[in-house]
């Protein structure tokens, strides 16, 4: 198999996303295991945190769609109340299907349909199209998936999704990223202010719209302490062009590291069996820190144990076998995607 074919085989079509860049910066091995070779714990369903976050995002998208007119301006009168009804209907219809595949973990049992309902009740009362940005805002689009290309020696495709793109009466754009968090602590706020992910969103949207994004913010929604409380974290305060570009360089650096891994896997196995190429990549990820480094300080980040801990804590020579036995392995072939 040629290197070009091998890269096509292993590299997912949505290879680079801001979320993945963020994860790769925290622990590169974790990124490679989850985003490149897609190791999933055996018998484990969808993560309740992710499932709850997805549902909350979809519910907010339903809300903004229902409470705005064709041009995105918020409807007056009983518009919000009607939209709230639609959101509740959406949750009632969708929750059982989504939650079917979720493994309830003992410390996450608080994530229930009742909590989501309560959270959305608060959200639909208090959220504003433009958050606490000054002026009058309309919705341009919500939850739109986009693909962008970053120029460079090797052009890089980045896939991303903005939760809410808004515009004010002067024509300025703003972007919102909604995040559910256990509590909106000062530490959470500080982390958001430096987010690589948000800087990449801003840069990519500026490139696409050909205009500076002067307003961007995180819309934090608390799901444990003071559930439903909203906090807006403004992001542009100290973000100059170099600060934003730095995040793009981080994305490029991650992409080139991913490519180096793919090349290494191809050098380890250059035959025609896709399964063996995939195993060569897995073996590199698990046993070669010069190609794929790891960060033990991230194992418990966000108070949630990394699902790959059992691999990292075993002898390197046994990791591949344990991974093959204890994880669901789907050897995907992206060549024809």
């Amino acid at each position: 198999m040629s290197y070009e074919l091998a890269v096509k085989f292993l590299r997912p079509p949505a290879g680079i996303t801001p979320t993945r860049v963020e994860l790769a910066a925290r622990c590169y091995r974790r990124h490679c295991l989850s985003d490149l070779v897609h190791l999933k714990p055996l018998g484990d369903g969808k993560d309740p945190n992710l499932a709850f976050g997805d549902m909350a995002h979809q519910s907010t998208a339903v809300f903004w769609r229902e409470c705005t007119d064709a041009e995105g301006w918020e409807l007056g009168g009983s518009g919000r109340a009607m939209a709230y009804g639609k959101v509740m209907q959406f949750i009632g219809d969708t929750w059982p299907k989504v939650w079917e595949d979720v493994v309830a973990k003992t410390n996450q049992e608080y994530m229930t349909i009742e909590l989501l309902g309560m959270l959305m009740e608060e959200y639909t009362k208090n959220a504003r199209v433009g958050g606490d940005f000054p002026g009058h805002w309309r919705i341009v689009e919500t939850e739109q998936r986009r693909k962008a290309e970053l120029a460079g020696l090797i052009p890089l495709q980045v896939f991303y999704q903005i939760d809410r793109l808004i515009q004010n009466e002067e024509g300025d754009y703003g972007i919102f990223d909604t995040k559910t968090a256990s509590s909106l602590s000062p530490m959470w706020r500080r982390t958001q202010e430096q987010s690589i992910q948000q800087r990449i969103y801003k840069a990519l949207e500026e490139q696409r719209l050909g205009k500076e994004i002067r307003y961007s913010a995180i819309e934090g929604v608390a799901k444990k302490q003071a559930a439903g409380m909203i906090e807006y974290v403004w992001l542009n305060m100290n973000w100059d062009k170099d600060f934003v570009n730095e995040a793009l360089l981080q994305a490029k650096s991650q992409a080139s590291k991913d490519d180096r891994l793919l090349l290494q896997a191809h050098m380890d196995y250059s035959g025609d069996d896709p399964r063996l190429l995939w195993m060569a990549a897995l073996n590199r990820i698990l046993t070669d820190p010069t190609t794929v480094e790891f960060n033990t300080q991230d194992c418990q980040s966000f108070f949630k144990g990394c699902e790959y801990e059992s691999l990292c804590f075993s002898n390197p020579s046994e990791r591949e076998g344990i991974a093959l036995g204890d994880f669901q392995l789907l050897v995907k072939d992206y060549r024809n995607v």
Binding site: G43, Y269, G271, D273, P274, R275, L276, M279, A280, N283, S314, N315, S317, E318, R319, E320, G321, I322, A323, L324, G325, D326, Q328, L329, L330, V331, K332, D333, Y334, N336, V337
Partner: protein
């Protein structure tokens, strides 16, 4: 988009007293699957159960066997197993561990672990070439016997004839060391299983008394029959396997494996059981072809 699921082997442990059919399950798996490697402890205790495989087996029991089957490179490093026969049988013991006679040599566990690591390396090497495992079954008979070797090893290190009290001198060292050594054994077996070899183990059982700390409260603790290991490791044993069964022989002399027999013996299955696979008492014939067909 095409995709191919890489299939690991199945894993199961049979729990029960001597003569209840634990080795019978492993032997039936060797028979059905046509090849296998056996890691037996202590010593030759369990060897007799596998007599019918002798003619097609290589044995790794004596140092002469090791010299014949384990080859090293010209620098005397990188040992690898060279066995052409369908079955490979290795036994492990501590023949020179007699604390009463001041004889403390206990190398059975490290030998067993080295042997398992050789199997990991051989299996991994074949997998990298896209070849199926050389051995379809890994039998660990008994895992609790390997536990006895871990006990010998720790007692030898601490120069004590019986395990120290958990909260006494050397207690932490003994129990943590014992657990870590057996974890190493379990990890090697899990790695082998990952490449497609079924991992079947057996263990003797013992009664674990109900902890007094629970008595008098709403929760009533019960005594439990558990795998015969000491300390925290015995609680960990079921976690290594996807299927935990109790073995027995009924009044007609028929071997059975029991799933969820009663509240004193907890079993488990991460597999989906085929409908009607179990009889009214929750029993299934103790025979790998039957059990293998029933679990998915």
């Amino acid at each position: 988009m095409s995709s191919e699921r890489i299939q690991p082997g199945k894993s199961a442990i049979a729990l029960g007293p001597s003569g209840s059919g634990k080795s019978h399950l492993i032997a039936s798996a060797l028979e059905m699957e046509g090849s296998g490697v056996l890691c037996l402890a202590q010593g030759n205790d369990e060897l007799e159960s596998y007599r019918r495989f002798y003619k097609d087996a290589d044995f790794l029991i004596t140092s002469e066997d090791a010299a014949r089957l384990v080859k090293v490179d010209e620098k005397g490093k990188n040992p690898r197993l060279v066995s052409e026969k369908p079955f490979l049988i290795a036994t492990f013991d501590d023949p020179d561990f007699f604390p009463s006679l001041d004889l403390w040599k206990a190398t059975g566990l490290t030998s067993a672990l080295s042997f398992l690591r050789l199997i990991v390396a051989a299996t991994k090497e074949r997998a990298a070439q896209g070849l199926a495992p050389q051995w379809n079954v890994l039998g660990l008979d008994t895992f609790s016997g390997i536990g006895d070797l871990a006990n010998n090893s720790m007692c030898s290190e601490l120069k004590v004839s019986v395990p120290p009290k958990a909260r006494g001198d050397g207690g932490a060292q003994y129990y943590i060391g014992y657990k870590n050594k057996l974890n190493e054994v379990a990890r090697a077996c899990r790695a082998i299983r990952g490449y497609g070899t079924h991992w079947l183990a057996s263990s003797h059982v013992q009664l674990k008394e109900a902890p007094e700390t629970f008595s008098g409260q709403d929760v009533v603790a019960k005594e439990q029959q558990m795998a015969m290991f000491t300390g925290a490791f015995r609680e960990m044993v079921p976690g290594f396997f996807d299927l935990v069964l109790y073995t027995g022989i009924d009044s007609q002399g028929k071997h059975y494996a029991q799933y969820q027999p009663d509240k004193f013996r907890s079993s488990k299955s991460r597999y989906k059981m085929e409908e009607n696979a179990l009889d009214a008492k929750g029993r299934i014939e103790n025979d790998w072809p039957t059990i293998n067909k029933a679990i998915k």
